[in-house]
Structures are given as structure tokens and as C-alpha cells.
Symmetry: C2
Subunit: 326 residues, 2 copies
């Protein structure tokens, strides 16, 4: 039996962060060693409370949750209540969790766990990259201590969502994103190019509602707000992209991308109209992406577009498996 | 009978510029009132000589050719001999033309012709936009004097070619491109998204060689160098993109794009990795591009991918029609 893959998830919970966490909690091959939170979909403190709520639903309140950056280094924090609801969880207004966040700051927790388990921790970042960049400043050897970094973020051949050029996680802290992509560790970037093609539908939502566990009832209910947003602003119909869950499944090793070249990738940190754009050198697209000097990031451009089925399968099985683990 | 469409072509001749000029000279519905040249594929003076050579081949040495900008306003001029040959025409090393360029600077000629024929001149720019921007500085009313501007340039959902983010014409003078796109006149942008999908093959080249006129023998011979470049650096096989001819056919009204939303479009004029990127707001792509505030440019994202056949048809008929005109 292969050993479990140990993950730290850095997130801004968030509707799709909640789905990603529940997906990972139902994964028999994954051990979630900690969750750290950052501003983004909601503020970092609400994100921590939402994370604790999700862990409680899954019977996994043993997993530590640490609060991290409340803004980027420029003092800015663009939140997204119009996407995720004012409570970050689709205006479901759940009761307060029975547990509380760890007193340890997120970046310190990341560094401590990486030092305690050198070479075995996978980092999954599904919010702005401020905590990871701060951890790199705290521990310059972090790239040697971590096994792999998977980031949900960016837009390469797909338009941005925060601006015409930039995806929200990267746009929220372009300087941190540049530092993370350039740190010299193995990075997989899961941009909108892939996530916008893995789509949850009303049929998926009904399946979740019918599964009958508290966790699936919760996931079904938070999708209402998410579909509202996607119908109004993006797709013109009630379906939604699987951003964070797809990145989680790739980090867990469950989904093998169809197209994921390793290419030179940078972030626009200027203040022009491209601020926060992820500039990946995909000019080799006509020749199956030949090896490239300066290639630093594995960029997931395509998956097989069946992930949302896998996600719902997993979520429907999740409570049982979570109890086995507990 | 509809009146002819009057075009001024601003170009950096260049293999595909030569094809575009010959295409337009064979168009019974187009009157080419002048050609102006700019640095880009080759230097502005060589571009003028090459243009005179092409006009001579088509029996149209009556059309004035004026030399324009020899660099952008930063004093830079990135030329592309590795694409177009050291002579700009595929190292065919043609003899000097029998005619000479006009003494009038390109931008002044553009302004003069626009003033003489208010509302009827179409500008087709298939090189860096320095001459058009200079003309806008000389005559701030130019946008009201010109019927339409068509620009070959940019890359939206397609990677750049000068850099990972930027197409060469825009990258060669981002400040000028920004000025041209923002000038308030009707602009159609024909980016790599469209031009890379309209492809000339060796079969087309053979057809041109077999047509038997001096002009088609010339077009066949200049394609050798172009295919060399595209085989080595882009496609891995002997075929080439129809950048400038496609823009010419769209400016002439011969090709109706399949997808060409009018969207807010800007140019990155910073000095980061996105310098020269065309940032077009195509976030409406999932809802058929609803009307957008600030929409300033018609961006051709797709054509029907049959243009190269039309181009070769036209070039094979061109000498005859050119002689009829003369």
C-alpha cells in the first residue's frame, strides 16, 4: 500500500474551497495535516471559521486551522461576497464552529510542519499566495523541505476573471505569486484554462441533495449562491466551475491532466492593465511543447472534463470514509 | 456597382506584407491610394524599396510609397531577418526597383490623403503602429477623417510571437498601439488568434509556382524562407500563417470573420513581462459577448480557415487584373 500523501491546504474558504476540503477529506490516499487561511473569497478570519465548520461536518475537527494574511503586502484585500455570499459559504449562515483556530500564524505553521517532515509535505494553495510567500521569507530553505506545490490560479489562454487578463487568486497578490512561482520548487499551476472546463451542473446539485448526509446537504445548499453568480456573470445558466476541487484532485494525484506542459511562467507585477496576469510561455503549442529554457512551472491547460462527476461521487461517499479515518 | 474602397496600407514589407499588397492589387473592389512604410519585418527604407518592387511586379508603379518611422519613440527597432530574410523578401535579392519613394514622410502623406478625401479612406496597418500614431499627433481630427482602421496585430487567447504575451507589431511599439486603439475611430484588430489559423501550405506554394506569372513566381519563391522559419520555430512543418493578407482581406471587405466581438481593448505599455500584450476583455465569451462598457475595438478571434485558398486564387489571377487596372 502506497503511503498517504500529506497535504497542507492554504485556502480562503469560500464555496469551492469547501468543496475541495470535503473532497480531500474523503480521499483515502490523503492525509490533511493542516489548513491555513488567507483573505480572498472572504476575509482570512471568516475563512478560518468556515474551514472549521467544514471540518466539523466531516468529523475532522482534529485538523489544525491557522489564520494567515488579512491583506497582501500592499495592504489590499479584494474580497468576493458577490461570488461566495457575505458569509463566504453561499449565505447559508451556519452556526459558529465548536472549535477555534490555532494561535499559530499560518506561515509559521507551514514552515514548522515542513521542517518536521522534510520532503514529504505537499502544499495546495487555492487562495492568494500571500501565506506561501511569507513562509518563503521565514524559511528560505522551504523549497527544499516541500515535496510539491499545487496552485489554483492564473489564466493562460483563457481570459482572466478578476480583470480581462488576471485570475483572482493571482490578481489579489501578484508579488507573492511571482515569488512562489520563482522559488525553485516544483510547482503545478491549475489555471482557469482547466478549471472553467470542469463544470458542476444542477444535476450534480440534485445528486448531492439526495445523498442525504449533512455534508452533502451542505454542499448542495452552498451551490445555490454559486450558481446564481455563474448564471448572472459567467455562463448565462445554472452551472459553475470546479476551480479549487480540481486543483485539490490534481494535488492528491487523483486527476492526471490531459495537457500540462512545463513552461517558463511569470506574473505581471506592474500597475498596467495586465497586473496579475500569469504569463506562461506556451508558444510551443504547435510542436507539443518542446523543452524550454527557464521552464519553472507545470501548467495544467486541459483535463478530461469528467472531474465534476468524480467530485460528486467522492462527496457522496465522504462522510463514511471520514468516519473510518476518525 | 458599389464604389471602390480606398485603402492606404501602412506596412513593413516583409514576406506576408508583399502577399497582402499583391492580394489587394488584384482586388477589383479596392483602390490602393498609397503605401507607407515603417520599421518592423525589415527597416523602413528597405520596406519602401520592397514595396516599390512589389508594385512594379504588379504594374502599379503609379502608387506612391512614402517612408515612415525608422524606430519607435523609444528609439528601438526590432527587425526580423530570421523570419523574412536579410532583404525582407526571403533572401530573393531582387534588383533595385526602377522607381523611388515619395519625399513626403509617411505620417504626413496619411494626413494629407485623409484630409483630401474626408470619410472615405480606410487605413490598413500591417506593421508597428508608429506611423499611425504619428499621424494622430499631426492631426488630432484624423479619427473623424478616416472611415475605418484595420490592424494586423496582437494576441488575445493565442500566445504572442515576439514574447510569450505579445505579438510583434504591437510589441515593437506598444505606446503607439495604445494610442491607435484608444483614438476613438472604428478599429478592427486582426490578431494571431485568427491569422495563425489561416495557413499557407506547400501545395499553395506549388500552385503559385505553376501559375506562371512573374508575380506568382515571386510569391512562390519568397515562401521558401517563410516556410523555413515556420518549420523551425513554429509549426515543425513547412506551412506558414497568413497574417497580413488576412488583415488585408478583412479591410477590403472580402472576408467576413466568424467571430469578431467589439470589446474593451488596451495595450500593456509597462516594462514587465507583459509589455506589448493586447489585453482585450473577452470574458463575455460564454455568453456570446454581450455589449460591454468601454468597448473600443472589433477583435477578430476566428475566421473560417479557408482564406489561404482565396489568397492563392487571387494571386494567380492578379497579373491580369492588375493589367486591366493599369
Amino acid at each position: 500500500m502506497a503511503p498517504k500523501r500529506t497535504l497542507i491546504v492554504d485556502c480562503d474558504t469560500g464555496i469551492d474551497d469547501a468543496l475541495a476540503l470535503l473532497y480531500l477529506l474523503g480521499d483515502p490516499d490523503v492525509e490533511l495535516s493542516a489548513v491555513t487561511t488567507v483573505f480572498g473569497n472572504t476575509d482570512a478570519d471568516t475563512a478560518a471559521l468556515n474551514t472549521l465548520r467544514v471540518l466539523e461536518l466531516a468529523g475532522r475537527s482534529d485538523i489544525p486551522v491557522a489564520v494567515g494574511a488579512r491583506s497582501n503586502w500592499c495592504g489590499e484585500a479584494h474580497l468576493a461576497p458577490y461570488v461566495h455570499g457575505s458569509d463566504g459559504l453561499g449565505n447559508t449562515n451556519l452556526p459558529a464552529p465548536t472549535t477555534t483556530p490555532s494561535p499559530e500564524p499560518a506561515a509559521e505553521l507551514i514552515v514548522r510542519l515542513a521542517r518536521e517532515n522534510p520532503g514529504s509535505t505537499h502544499l495546495l494553495a487555492i487562495g492568494p499566495l500571500t501565506n506561501l510567500a511569507t513562509a518563503l521569507l521565514l524559511e528560505p530553505e522551504l523549497p527544499q523541505l516541500v515535496a510539491h506545490v499545487t496552485v489554483m490560479g492564473g489564466a493562460v489562454r483563457h481570459p482572466g476573471n478578476a480583470t480581462p487578463a488576471a485570475e483572482a487568486n493571482i490578481h489579489n497578490d501578484p508579488e507573492a505569486a511571482r515569488m512562489v512561482l520563482r522559488a525553485g520548487w516544483p510547482v503545478t499551476l491549475v489555471p482557469l484554462d482547466a478549471t472553467m472546463c470542469e463544470v458542476l451542473t444542477e444535476q450534480h446539485q440534485r445528486r448531492l441533495a439526495e445523498c442525504g448526509s449533512p455534508a452533502t446537504a451542505f454542499t448542495s445548499s452552498i451551490l445555490d449562491q454559486y450558481f446564481d453568480f455563474y448564471e448572472r456573470d459567467i455562463f448565462g445558466e445554472r452551472r459553475a466551475a470546479c476551480h479549487d476541487p480540481l486543483a485539490a484532485a490534481i494535488a492528491a494525484g487523483d486527476v492526471e491532466p490531459v495537457l500540462a506542459p512545463v513552461v517558463a511562467t511569470d506574473v505581471d507585477t506592474g500597475d498596467g492593465p495586465g497586473r496579475g496576469a500569469t504569463i506562461a510561455d506556451v508558444r510551443g503549442q504547435y510542436q507539443n511543447f518542446p523543452a524550454q529554457e527557464g521552464a519553472n512551472v507545470r501548467v495544467v491547460l486541459e483535463t478530461d472534463r469528467t472531474f465534476s462527476d468524480l467530485l460528486v461521487d467522492r462527496l457522496c461517499g465522504a462522510p463514511e470514509r471520514a468516519q473510518q479515518v476518525a
